[in-house]
Symmetry: C2
Subunit: 102 residues, 2 copies
């Protein structure tokens, strides 16, 4: 009963629904970054980061560029940032609401 397009969209959203991946995307919005730098920034095992990046790539959110032994990732769709700001807005509202004890 759920139209097919929501399956497709949910797949993409799922790729963003993880703290590390969201952080990675936000940083990639500023500049290209290689896996080793992202690994340092996130502070997890490099294999974990590699898998996160694969998820983002499969979702069509990032692309890669090889330079020597390094692989640089970059953000494909800047509109992702608008989306993040919307979510940040919801988060802010939630914080306000819970402060009021509502």
């Amino acid at each position: 009963m759920v139209p097919e397009k929501y399956n497709v969209q949910a797949e993409i959203i799922k790729a963003l629904a993880h703290p590390s991946r969201l952080y990675i995307v936000s940083e990639l919005a500023k500049r290209e970054i290689c896996v080793c730098d992202l690994t340092e920034m996130v502070g997890a095992d490099i294999s974990t980061i590699s898998k996160h990046l694969l998820v983002l790539k499969n979702a069509g959110i990032v692309s890669t560029r090889k330079e020597g032994t390094q692989i640089f990732y970059k953000l494909l769709c800047p509109c992702i940032l608008d989306f993040v700001s919307c979510i940040a807005n919801v988060a802010r509202k939630n914080a306000e609401t819970s402060m009021k004890g509502v």
Copy 2:
């Protein structure tokens, strides 16, 4: 190493990262809908829908209004729609790319 705000945001995004919930949110963007109608629309067990709605409510995405024995859900943040359109855009680009066999 990942700033706390990404944990908060990822929680909200996670709530949207499911086909049924995304469909529900899209429909709630048009009008208030009660649980029983949503159940019909999605075509799943009512307990499943109820859980999905709880997820959306906990994320601060929807609110409820009781009317007799029915409970109506409505969308709290219209900006969610912009976000969905961004995702739809990514999905469209992905489809184009895979068509070209890239």
